[in-house]
Subunit: 652 residues, 3 copies
């Protein structure tokens, strides 16, 4: 695994560059990412390109032996461009322009801006496309950050109409597909369709889902255009984009189809404080992050569809952008780096080389302080070469293997549930993450797969919620031969956001022999007990009433109705499980699938990469690894402090 860093030569005096480069190399780094916000320095006035400083920066870094990831600067169109073409600005749900003065202010649907972004990308490619040190191009930066996927500009509206015309062919088809007869919402033509915003009450969910699909497609299109602008002048280039944590406004798998590498930006403490964890958990994990935050995303992006994945920005100290910004516990920078390795990452690049003393992110730490002294992360990274030496001391296979268990996470499903949650506490991402946490707490390695994955080779596939499960998806799943656990709302909608003819769960219901004619969303605090053989716990938030000819494995204690149904290799959980129920259901299904279970203490996680086994203790206290026979430790021991990492091989 390569280590790297994000670097902004334009922020620092040129005389510092050479020493910076030397220090990077000496620290064991081999990658450096530059350029992604530098448009105003590359092209300070339209058409006047200033390459010399960038030439020198690139050459200085290359001379130190560093491989360079060069970013296109399209996330920050400069002020002169906005002045010349104000229509490229995005528009918010309030109908106002999203103004210049920070970043990501452009609309993905602006043809003018896409042309401009390709122009600067092509110019950079022409200049650097054959530079031997530049192996990889990063397109733009963190698509979707600050809620920027959705834009309501005139350009977006026009593009949406074209997108719909292509999708539906005729306005009559669209009216039927959306069910626009419902409230006299029938459109006379595509030109009268607006985005689903500022309506008196909710807009048609079919309309909203198409708007989300369209908006996601616009991101993909924008990204692809830049790649196509670069490729002619950059033969053999690899393309990467750096995604974020818990951003789901566009389909990352669709993006990945155009990428060679996916990088993601891992800020475990910032994500913890920003995401919807309960306050007690935010306090408990405030200096280590939730034990599954980084791991979940590693597993997600490892399976996203690119040849390679890694961390493009790794938190190495306090960040500046969360509601609260504590410092990582000592050891966590090493912990996160080794964790990324254990989960199969090919690289980890830290963010950023040196804390910038000015502008928005001045309180975001780096590896070095603004006065160029090393910060804490720097010293932890220095210790990593010793760790990696120990890991490789015994020659072993470090190829990431397929896991026995797959968890399905689907972007479109998230949009669908956001559009009509039916109960305000039903959050798709929360259900997925709770399921991931439960699996990992049972000691399992998990692959995260998409809704259209083949799914072959898994023993257990867990699908917490997949509203659109058409027959081709179902056939594919059945063909895997795996034990498959489906969760609530699966199969409950058609591709046009309607209830299937056979009611939920559609074809799955036909296959399993039941239907769900009625669901209930429940206020937090209302629960219903569930009991079955080896099954215990309760549902909360959501309950389904099954009309059934199917074996019931567990039943609701109030009325005896089925809560967990089973038919062949398929099981269906008819509600949102609390932690106890989820644990018992997963244990049962894992046992049926012959997936071994290792119950882990709170905060301990294990993970295998090839022959190497890892344990990570995210706290809150020292733990002892409960299985330690016939193993040889390469790192640490069975006793793990908080932030401690152990690695071992099994003795045969």
């Amino acid at each position: 695994m390569k280590l790297g860093v994000c670097y902004y030569p334009e922020h620092w005096p040129e005389q510092m560059w050479a020493q910076d480069a030397t220090r990077m190399r000496d620290l064991g780094l081999s990658l450096v990412r530059i350029g992604e916000f530098a448009w105003s320095r590359i092209e300070p006035v339209r058409g006047r390109f200033v390459w010399d400083w960038l030439d020198r920066a690139i050459n200085t870094l290359a001379d130190a032996g560093l491989a360079i990831v060069l970013g296109t600067p399209s996330a920050t169109p400069p002020r002169w461009l906005i002045r010349d073409a104000p229509s490229i600005l995005a528009v918010g749900t309030d109908g106002r322009l999203r103004g210049f003065g920070s970043r990501r202010h452009y609309c993905f649907s602006s043809d003018i801006y896409r042309t401009e972004a390709c122009r600067i990308a092509a110019a950079m490619a022409e200049r650097y496309g054959r530079h031997p040190a530049i192996s990889t191009w990063q397109i733009d930066n963190e698509y979707g950050c600050h809620g920027t996927v959705l834009s309501y500009s005139a350009a977006a509206i026009a593009a949406f109409r074209v997108w719909l015309a292509n999708r539906y062919g005729s306005i009559d088809s669209l009216n039927v597909a959306w069910g626009n007869v419902f409230w006299s919402m029938e459109y006379p033509d595509f030109e009268t369709i607006e985005p689903p915003v500022a309506t008196v009450t909710e807009a048609n969910p079919a309309h909203r889902l198409d708007w989300r699909r369209f908006s996601s497609d616009q991101v993909i299109r924008f990204n692809r255009a830049q790649i196509e602008a670069i490729r002619p002048n950059a033969p053999g280039a690899q393309f990467v984009h750096n995604t974020m944590g818990f951003f789901t406004d566009y389909d990352h798998r669709a993006l990945a189809r155009d990428l060679d590498v996916v990088g993601w930006d891992s800020y475990p403490l910032g994500f913890l404080d920003s995401f919807e964890f309960p306050d007690a958990e935010k306090q408990q994990w405030c200096r280590t992050g939730h034990p599954d935050i980084a791991a979940f995303h590693h597993d997600l992006y490892r399976g996203i569809g690119t040849a390679s994945f890694g961390v493009m920005e790794q938190q190495a100290g306090p960040v500046n952008w969360a509601p609260h910004n504590p410092a990582p516990l000592s050891g966590m920078v090493r912990f996160w780096t080794l964790e990324a390795f254990a989960h199969g990452a090919d690289f980890v690049a830290y963010f950023r080389w040196r804390q910038c003393p000015f502008a928005q992110e001045q309180m975001h730490s780096g590896l070095r302080l603004p006065d160029d002294r090393p910060d804490i992360g720097f010293d932890e990274i220095a210790s990593l070469s010793d760790d990696f030496a120990r890991l490789h001391a015994i020659p072993s296979n470090t190829r990431t293997q397929r896991s026995a268990v797959a968890l399905m996470f689907d972007y479109e499903s998230n949009w669908l549930v956001e559009i009509q949650p039916h109960g305000e506490n039903f959050r798709y991402r929360e259900l997925i993450f709770q399921t991931y946490t439960a699996l990992r707490g049972l000691g399992m390695d998990v692959d995260i797969i998409g809704a259209d994955a083949e799914g072959t080779g898994y023993r257990l596939i867990v699908i917490p919620c997949l509203p659109i499960l058409d027959s081709s998806r179902l056939d594919r799943l059945r063909a895997t031969g795996a034990q498959i656990l489906f969760g609530p709302r699966t199969g409950s909608k058609t591709a046009h956001f309607a209830i299937p003819d056979t009611l939920a769960p559609g074809d799955l219901g036909t296959a399993m022999g039941f239907s769900i004619p009625r669901v209930e969303s429940l206020r937090t605090g209302v629960t219903i007990g569930v009991h079955g053989e080896a099954i215990e716990g309760a549902i909360t938030h959501w309950r389904e009433h099954a009309c059934v000819r199917t074996a019931s494995v567990a039943a609701y204690t109030t009325d005896g109705a089925p809560a967990l149904l089973e038919a062949g290799d398929f099981a269906y959980l008819a509600g949102w499980p609390d932690a106890v129920l989820l644990d018992s259901v997963l244990r049962r299904q894992a046992t049926r699938a012959s997936v071994p279970i290792r119950q882990l203490p709170t905060g301990l996680r294990i993970r295998r990469r090839g022959d190497l086994h890892f344990a990570f203790n995210a706290g809150p206290q020292r733990v002892t690894i409960p299985f330690r026979e016939n193993i040889q430790f390469l790192l640490g021991s069975a006793d793990l402090e908080v932030a401690g990492v152990a690695a071992w091989i099994e003795l045969t």
Copy 2:
């Protein structure tokens, strides 16, 4: 009482209509409401009317013996109309158009739209006004839903100026009436008056109150115009509108003056989860609804001023639009139907015949599932014919009698308190509803009356809060001879939202011999004890300081100041009572008025209609009716399960 259903033939294949109609009749239904969202199918292009499908739908229903309520489709102006006349859209407080894509997007003040709405109504009347099966016309649908009474469009502003000019004659009169000298707010002419929105701090409350009155008047005017458009071609037609629960943005009594029938839309579970009940109550009653939600509205709309009232849309399963949407407990559809009957309803129409699998309300249940199997409500309704047969087994009077107790509920008072709550926890509707609940928990039947009601024939009149109590209202109340209990803020304002010359409570104070020179609004958690003979409890939210020459029945424990004052038949409660105080005050006043008290266990309610007595148990547990001598049960028995209903006659 007639039973009926809401039906949307335009949502279903024509071949299903005949069977639907037969099944309705077989279920015991005799009413069917149709048409109110079908504009885009009746007139898909301006001026091109497509009647044939509606002819066939009407005839199919009529052939099955069903009486039809035909709705005008003005709640959903179609897209082509918005395209041709975008100025008909309403404008929100944010100054933005409220767009097409859901429903109720029109502005009540648009002359263009009123003309259009009358045009389609007249066209329908011309076609169907003499159809023998169409006895009743519903105008529009749920005025005010989604906060649509108030609009800030150019049309509304122009109409407001005319309305003010008519009301005040001269701008000087307006300036004096509003007290515009206060902050140099004097207007040079009517043309410079804007709606009270987007001001730096609160606008003049007199200005705001007139805006609310004007906005309410615009609803009445819009409704009346449609009736007048229909009547010439529909001789003998009855006119109905379907109102909602807890909607108070327009004066329903003013609307009722133009109607023959008032229908209301009863969604007990949706209202519970949406209205301002404490979370614990929302959990407790989540499957039955609060025991007084439906009853309160029955009593309100029974007294609204029309010849007939009933439920136009009755929840018959889970709805889709509340924050959480649980299913009714088994038996509740029957419970709600019999409860409506007990409270005097002339009809109950269920919403809707069949769950629609597409668009916004696809998760709103119906009597039949999307695949046309019967849902739970269907089966409960089927059982009702047996219930009604038992009720009518012994010939008896079922005419609804006047209650002994009247509760005053006034729309204008609600606007006034919303405009200047003085304490953010003072909510008019909450005070009214708490009082209703307390009266009903004492076993009383209650009539709900308006501020201008004659009030004759009652023994006890409870007026929880009536800020504008002028001398004509006071004279009318005095003439009733009833015991009258007034609550806080009564008489505290003039018609122009000013303090009366004699201070609060104005003429009432003169009559009773006290004034209220000072009030306090209190943060939740601050309470003051109250004690008197047979009076115990505390006030919260609001305390008044009376300057008094009047007998004090109960006093504040902190300073001995009067809390409950009395003079002749009038009593005045100088604060917002907690539940204990409210109960003891109502018991005392009921006793003075010779109104019998029957203390009921939690969740049990009783109600008389003619000779028939009913008991309803909304839970949370099985109860035994505590008075059961000399009665003969027609339905159920003295032991009532949750959701259980009993009915009896008294043996003489």
Copy 3:
């Protein structure tokens, strides 16, 4: 100390004026403020001035021997002026005009409006500038009320660009100063700079800080223009403005440089309920106000830089504008008046003479009720002449002396922390107020000083947070010879909102021998213990990691890192202290500075003015003053009821 009242003759029939004036004088009042909202009566139509009523009002008051404070009416531009020049309206962050219909709707940057305000002010000066009874002119009313300092109008944007051009000279200088290279935010020219609003994510903090500085400057400029318009016709006039509590959007010290007198508007109960106190405190002090609310502002405005200060509007009963509006406890009007005297006020004017029965503030009490009977405050004020007679019974010095302790409160620091709080619970004003409360609870008199104060003559200076501490400020502080306690974030920023070259705390760090390379913001609930000799407690919200060559007086219990550092007369607290830690640190520093400590029970406060000592008991219970030897009581005794006041002289 003079007593006075705010009076609005235009609200009342002229026949009441003479009696009002007589009653004022009889009550012991000698000051009356009028005119500040009367524009529409002085100039009902452009250019037509109506002076006669105001002539008579002024003469009636003057004839009764009252000195008049005459207000310019610029806070309420009338409707005809808005009609003629709509561009004078302010614009909100949402881009919408802040409309006519309440008050303060003008934009400070409008040249048109500044000219208009000067025109009316000059006209009034021409008429009344030499009137013998008019000694003082109040300019406008409560600058900043309702969030009106910041405006985003075209006029403001244009003025901002000019302001920036003056400040930076060239756009390159600005780009460097702000660090605009960071996200390609470099501006091609001043004309392309917009206010920092509606950006996708946060705008550059340097940009935002300059916007706040600019906006503050516009208030100062507006105020000065009116003074200059009046002065030529009002020789010898004193100028006053009435500021508010907890308003920090403009720099009050800069304003004070143009004033002779500062008045402030003291509403202790309204402030308590509106400001960010915990709910339990809002309940506890609901009828007395927090014991330090009024005192803090007296101490602030006494030191603001004017020759004289006092209360221009004193709450004398319930107000109307807080979320909840309870009545003051009996005695509190007297308490607040004597407290103002103890803190050095030169006058206290009550708001308002008579409760106005109409318009926005009809529920705001006055000294007299709307029906002209006296309200409670009136009677309390009547008793004050006896109190003042007792205070002056023994001839003594009543000149306010310099306190031994100074607390630094700086407007710019508040803007800076608001712009980048880094942790959402870090609120500058809260930190300052907690420190003030702690000092006062230790029995100390406190002077509040600004960031540029000389600071000479103090023994202890407490600077809870001063991010911009340049070397000139530091030199000035060092020259005082006082013990100085600095709090977190001090010295952490340059004047352009960047991290200093030597890191935080900049020059202070150089002087003391440490730096702060890392800070943490902590979620509420996360605390870290602190321990040292005589130092105990914990930090919360904020922790700093010091890199240190300095003596550590107290350390963090988790890692032994320094929490309280000391070098010579300087001490630095590296975190946000909880109440226990703050108390122990202040005790230690006071002891070192030889400032005597008198621990006071909850709610008791003491204060000296010249030879007079005062004690005030804000509750919640009766207390006994714990030091009472060798003193002679002039008011009250050592036993103080809630709302009780004692005054004594020390016997030598």
